[in-house]
Amino acid sequence: MLTLALNILDIVQNSIRAEASTITIDIGESIKNDFMDIRVSDNGKGMPEELLSKVTDPFVTTRTTRRIGMGLPLLKHQANLAGGDLSIESYQGKGTSTYVTFILGHVDRQPLGDIAGVMTILMSANPEINFLYNHKTDTGEYRFSSLEIKEYLGIEDFNDSHLLADIKEMINENLKDIGVFDIIKS
């Protein structure tokens, strides 16, 4: 994937297939500590121990349409290239949490990319799921919840391109305020 936002979009598909009703995306970036981490966690079905132990093997997948699963191995590879690693915790009936780290300033770290676009796509395609997004930097923190947006606006879904464009703008403006674009440029 060209950007980490696309990796996040990919990993979230696992949570959606696991029938999660709440999916949380936590991103942390610190110039001071030269560190970046991303956590995608859900309250879906979880994985049995046997599957969990080999889930980063590209030849292991729960899908029946093909015999390889590249999402997690790709993200693990990208993390390793950038001085980090990937770990997964999962408990059947409770959920799964995928945690990945990077050296922020590593030359091989992929840029974050269009995370606001990823969030609006996820919200529009899965209006029944509550997406929680938390982004923390040395300068500040930004959070939002898709359920909170629905409740505040009194809507059932995000089937409106104007609203999605406005939400994307809201996310980007708030991320700029906490220095996310500056960090991407560095």
Partner: protein, 133 residues
């Protein structure tokens, strides 16, 4: 135009265009609307499915075509990603492969608006229990 930074800003902007929205929201009925499903597995995302999905969401709205755009997982056509399944009301779904922005535009103008098939359709290669009976 002022920036949108808070939920209050979102609400204010929405209220400015509310009349048109109410008409559209009340009339959403998936069975009588175009259903667009964009495959969003790893191969699809890596091949460019995200901008395709964004294009369909924006353009169906802009061209006033009643439709629902959703994502789906791997349909097994990894060799032809990005792939998009279009279901017109009363018709069987059709899967298009190698969809880029230009082809997405053609799908809307030719297939969705006029029912005219275009190149790049992936033929049906499975049977369901229902179709066997």
């Amino acid at each position: 135009m002022s920036q949108i930074k808070s939920l209050a800003d979102l609400k204010k902007k929405r209220e400015e265009i509310k009349t048109g929205l109410d008409v559209r929201i009340k009339s959403i009925d998936p069975e009588n609307h175009v259903q667009v499903k964009v495959a969003m597995a790893t191969c699809g995302i890596a091949s460019g499915a995200k901008p395709i999905m964004e294009f369909f969401v924006e353009q169906l709205d802009r061209r006033n075509i009643p439709g629902v755009v959703t994502q789906t997982g791997c349909m097994g056509y990894c060799f032809a990603e990005p792939t998009v399944e279009i279901k017109l009301p009363g018709k069987d779904p059709v899967v298009f492969g190698y969809v880029d922005l230009k082809k997405a535009d053609l799908i809307i103008e030719k297939y969705i608006k006029e029912g005219e098939l275009i190149d790049g359709i992936i033929p049906v290669n499975y049977e369901t229990i229902d179709s066997k009976e």
